[in-house]
């Protein structure tokens, strides 16, 4: 007899990072009974790792900024594959979402006249990121957490969802387990919001924690919803690379925003060597002009270090490949040099980038106020996700919503730094609001007990086997994706990856774990493998399908952009018979007024 606890909600939110909490707050405020499921403790989600800031055209620092410029920047950064309606809503609503946070207790750094200070960031034309030193994500998640706990939502900490449940073509809830004792939980819900973050754990070098196993992507796919833009995985140009144990930990773009420069082993600022045509008119001609930009000179253009992440990451790879890299296979990031320009440089660095100072000092023994950092690309973010309606965030499965990183569309082929925190707020709110509305307009759901029995049986199988070690399967998957479907992609290698993935799927079926169901790390790793393998296959197949290089997707066999390929998004869906189906959908036509906005901003 299968034992489980049952909980019933109007809206179930899966994930408690920025998007999940914002959705839960909004759904609660709209009168819904809300449950939140999180794999970790409350307040530990990956949002705490966001350092740089929240992009919003508040125009506190430069009055020339407005939603139109932000919209155009986002579209240009995404190489025009973005869902324009999401980009429009995002640019228009982000300022209100930031001000709202302040009303809930967030404290951002200030301008001289006491307003929210904004900083420069890659791909943003004007200083746009509301921030708190380099710990903006912590400020945001703590604000949402401390506001949310008083709104009546029930939080289930350290719980993992195994499967989404359906009732005749609409969502009916979810089934999962809690980590502490390993007991099963059934959540009946009229609407479900996925806010599970990304897929970074599919790669070996990553800034993502153990949680980022693509659960939302895989759950939605398994339930028959479509995913979009899954070939676009962002490799952040600056992760730590030495010592080996810290490889992948993020070094904020804020370092470059505050004047940090990238150099190769010859001391050359190689970013000046390759400036893409569509950014040339916005990029500084000289090192001097770049420096003036970082110091707020409104007539200066941005230094090439602040070009989009996809481009900077590829330039770093080029330097390393051509033998001009640093001793441990990266390049140098230098912020200490600003001491030659700013008399109190060391203090300035510590005040503006306290976490970075701390992180390098403690983990690498490097004092960034005196020494250069060694950095290289690290898996950071997935642009792709659940295909949603831009206004409501509902997927093509009625009652299933998605927000934040696990939703696709806003960022197109490449996300701009700072646009993720604003994404979480804008679309978390929308997702929560429309999920509550859906729940109020639709009746009770019924649960198919066979479905949950099957899920429970599957989940307990690893205890009956003494087979493959789950950690080894996970590590092999990470190495495979890093080597064969990473920053530089080739068709042959990706075909090899698919074959190897097949073998890993078989190995995952033989995984065994020792011990019992109580807080068993091996068991959790074994269960997450299914999600990881699903998203790894989706990323690889869609990456084979896109035969051009655009944004974060770089094909060595098709090294340039191709207008025909760039005219559509790639969509993945599970067929009724369980096959992975890939189709192309033409881009939504841009309304003429938005087209005009883009032209004006060129």
């Amino acid at each position: 007899m299968l034992e489980y606890q049952t909980h019933e909600y109007d809206v179930l939110v899966i994930g408690a990072g920025g998007a999940g909490l914002r959705a839960a707050i909004e759904a609660s405020a709209n009168g819904a009974r809300v449950g939140v499921v999180t794999k970790s403790l409350l307040g530990k989600a990956h949002t705490v790792m966001a350092e740089g800031g929240i992009a919003a055209a508040l125009s506190n620092v430069d009055e020339r900024d407005n939603w139109k410029v932000h919209f155009a920047d986002t579209m240009r950064g995404g190489q025009y594959l973005n869902n324009w309606r999401m980009a429009e809503l995002h640019a228009k609503e982000a300022p209100d979402r930031v001000r709202e946070l302040e009303g809930w207790g967030a404290l951002f750094d200030r301008t001289k006249d006491g307003r929210i200070l904004q900083r420069n960031f890659g791909g943003h034309r004007y200083p746009r990121l509301a921030h708190v030193g380099d710990r903006t994500g912590l400020e945001m998640i703590r604000t949402l957490q401390d506001h949310g706990i008083h709104l009546g939502m029930e939080v289930h900490m350290e719980c993992t969802v195994l499967v989404l449940l359906k009732d005749e073509g609409r969502i009916a809830g979810a089934f999962g387990y809690e980590r502490e004792r390993g007991r099963f939980l059934l959540f009946r819900a009229k609407a479900v919001v996925l806010a599970t973050g990304g897929i970074g754990r599919a790669y070996k070098i990553t800034s993502n924690s153990w949680e980022y196993t693509g659960d939302g992507h895989s759950l939605a796919y398994g339930a028959g919803a479509s995913l979009i833009d899954m070939e676009f995985v962002q490799f952040h140009p600056t992760g730590m690379i030495w010592p080996p144990s810290v490889r992948g930990i993020l070094v904020t773009e804020g370092v470059r925003g505050e004047g940090g420069v990238l150099k190769n082993k010859d001391g050359r600022r190689f970013m000046f060597d390759d400036i893409p045509e569509n950014y040339r008119s916005q990029t500084a001609d000289s090192e001097e002009e770049g420096w003036r930009y970082t110091q707020g000179d409104r007539n200066a253009r941005r230094p090439p270090e602040l070009l989009t992440r996809d481009h900077v990451a590829r330039c770093i790879m080029r330097e390393v490949r051509e033998g001009r890299g640093s001793p441990h296979g990266g390049v140098f990031l230098d912020i200490a040099w600003i001491k030659t320009r700013v008399p109190t440089g060391a203090e300035y660095i510590k005040r503006k980038l306290p976490n970075m100072y701390h992180q390098f000092k403690q983990l690498a023994g490097v004092d960034i106020t005196n020494e250069v950092m060694e950095v290289g690309p690290t898996t950071h973010y997935t642009m792709g996700g659940v295909r949603v309606d831009p206004d409501t965030q509902m997927s093509d499965l009625p009652g299933l919503f998605a927000a934040g990183e696990c939703a696709g569309g806003l960022h197109g082929a490449n996300r701009l730094g700072g646009n993720s925190l604003s994404d979480l707020l804008v679309f978390g709110k929308r997702g929560g609001e429309y999920a509550a509305k859906f729940a109020s307009e639709n009746g009770a759901v019924s649960i198919n007990l066979d479905e949950i029995e099957a899920a429970a049986r599957w989940a307990l199988e690893p205890f009956e086997r003494t087979g493959e070690n789950p950690y080894e399967v996970q590590q092999d998957l990470q190495e495979l994706m890093q080597d064969l479907a990473g920053i530089v992609r080739r068709e042959g290698e990706m075909r090899d990856a698919l074959e190897a993935l097949n073998k890993l799927v078989c190995r995952a079926k033989r995984v065994g774990v020792p011990g019992n169901r109580e807080y068993n790390g091996g068991w959790h790793t074994a269960l997450d493998l299914r999600h990881l393998l699903t998203v790894a296959e989706i990323v690889t197949r869609t990456a084979i399908e896109r035969k051009e290089s655009r944004g974060a997707h770089f094909r060595e066999d098709y090294p340039s952009k191709n207008d025909q390929e760039g005219g559509s998004n790639i969509v993945v869906q599970r067929s009724k018979s369980g096959e992975m189906e890939i189709r192309r959908e033409p881009l939504m036509a841009l309304p003429s007024e938005l087209n005009q906005v883009i032209d004006e901003m060129k």
């Binding site: 403790l41 990956h46 705490v48 001000r99 200030r110 006249d113 708190v132 949680e211 807080y519 091996g522």
Partner: protein
């Protein structure tokens, strides 16, 4: 590569013991790396909490050679590797299993603290604040909720007064609200009556272990104690209250 020995607490309350594991260590490794390697290679079912591995989320708190620390920020080359390294769970909270404790009490207590109550915004919906006013509170808002301060606090650890004293973390949280430039709430009655601020006898152990370097006792707890004294023990104010 060389090998090092780790003594890790295994098991739950009342049925646990230290187990010894030997594993390879490499330059730059932190304690959490070693624990992960042991988990992957020798003890698949080992329970350990972690997330960011960069000192920002406060999940991997434990006691390393008797000192409350974050496993992800403790480099092995700062420890005497010629002897076994002891890793055990925090002591102020009920043990779940191995290195994982039940910290849910902290979340329950937080709910009892009066929430942020801002003064009205200007007509444009925003507030003006000076950087200096913001700086004072940002020290407290740096807190990553690792609960190492709760772990080391003798009121909780030795005397188990969880029902009467909220502990340093939640006093820092209260201080962040009380000193917030926009907040209009008043929490001194609660601090005095419900949250047991009087139990803190300023031994400053919490400040010593804080991985974020927050000056918990001097900057948060003592000013709160002063506010409580002002509101409850000032004879002039007492008189004023009687005749009000």
């Amino acid at each position: 590569m060389s090998a090092a020995m780790f003594r890790i607490w295994r098991g739950g309350n009342g049925n646990g013991s230290f187990r010894e594991y030997t594993t390879e260590v490499a330059p730059g490794m932190v304690v959490l790396d070693a624990v992960h390697r042991i988990q992957a290679e020798q003890a698949n079912d080992l329970a350990v909490r972690w997330n960011c591995k960069a000192g920002k989320c406060g999940s991997c708190s434990a006691e390393i050679n008797g000192l409350p620390r974050l496993m992800c920020m403790t480099r092995l080359d700062t420890l005497p590797l010629e002897e076994p390294i002891t890793i055990e769970p925090m002591k102020s909270f009920p043990l779940i299993k191995d290195l994982v404790t039940d910290v849910s009490w902290n979340y329950q207590v937080k709910k009892t603290i009066r929430p942020f109550t801002p003064r009205p915004a200007a007509a444009d919906g925003s507030w003006r604040m000076a950087q200096e006013d913001v700086d004072r509170v940002q020290e407290f808002r740096k807190c990553i909720e690792c609960y190492l301060c709760q772990d080391v606090c003798h009121v909780l650890r030795e005397h188990h007064l969880h029902g009467q004293f909220v502990g340093p973390r939640l006093l820092v949280f209260t201080a962040a609200l009380e000193m917030h430039p926009l907040d209009t709430g008043r929490r001194t009655d609660d601090l005095h009556r419900e949250h047991g601020i009087g139990y803190c006898n300023i031994t400053k152990c919490c400040t010593t272990v804080c991985p974020e370097g927050i000056t918990i006792t001097d900057n948060a707890i003592i000013p709160l104690k002063e506010r409580v004294v002002d509101d409850h023990f000032d004879p002039l104010r007492k008189l004023f209250r009687i005749f009000k």
